[in-house]
Amino acid sequence: MKRLQEQARGRDIGDNLIIRTAVRLLVPFIQLFGLYVIVHGHYSPGGGFQGGVILGASFILLALAYDLRTSLRFMSERTNAILGNAGVLIYTGIALLCALLGGMFLDYSALDRLISLGPIEWRSLGIFLVEVGVGTAVMSIMVSLFWDLGSGGEMDEGL
């Protein structure tokens, strides 16, 4: 028993083993739930910001249970930056696209001229598309807030 404990301490797992295993099992489900919340913003409490925070929280949970470098392995800083910018560009891009196609800004029924599904259906679908953009941007902001504040900008252990 004592030898097992010494082995575990040497490998730096020790009493974190339960937390690490639980987090490793939970994080995919949390991310799936986050995506569910984004998509179901129409019919139940949810939407872009809420789902984005849940997605971001999954990465923060990884950083808390393991260490900052491990969570950086799952999503690098560069990917984070690109995802964040892409999220806002999706939102503004769809708004601009609606205006360029002849409607008003954010008037999703104008997108009917691209792929014809009916203007009312497009209003519902258009909101979903911008919510995806919002969710991605919020996720990347939450994660980068945690990384920068928790490690003081150096992205090393700190936590």
Binding site: Y43, S44, P45, F49, L145, D148, L149, G152
Partner: protein, 129 residues
């Protein structure tokens, strides 16, 4: 005394939010430690959010989530559901609050690195010297 007491009891939720707001406001202005000022700002903003959300409440009102097809057939009776507009407005306010807190915390880290303390009077001493 009677009418004053009944005023307070009837609108107790508004009084609670006013008390919370004043606690947050006092912390923002009266405290010396920068983190306590930031927490005061958070309390102030949260009190305003609670105030707004409580505006929409109705006696006997239910959650404003309705079945899509029932709503398309019969319409929604506004007296049975709580007003959801303030909830949605306050989502935006919560996002603003989170962003300001994030920026403020990042600035606090810079201040700490530079002056090695987070008490306002010590920082002003170090600058003045």
């Amino acid at each position: 005394m009677e009418p004053l007491l009944s005023e307070i009891v009837a609108k107790y939720n508004y009084w609670i939010y006013v008390v919370l707001m004043m606690i947050g406001f006092y912390a923002m202005i009266g405290k010396r430690n920068l983190v306590k000022k930031l927490l005061g700002m958070n309390i102030f903003q949260t009190a305003i959010i609670l105030f707004y959300v409580s505006i929409g409440g109705k006696r006997g009102g239910g959650i404003p989530i309705v079945d899509k097809h029932a709503a398309m057939l019969h319409g929604v009776d506004a007296t049975t559901v709580v007003n959801p507009l303030p909830h949605v407005l306050m989502l935006t306010a919560i996002v603003v609050s989170v962003s300001v807190t994030g920026v403020a915390l990042a600035i606090l880290i810079r201040i700490y690195r530079k002056y090695d303390t987070l008490e306002e009077d010590e920082i002003l001493e170090k600058i003045g010297r």
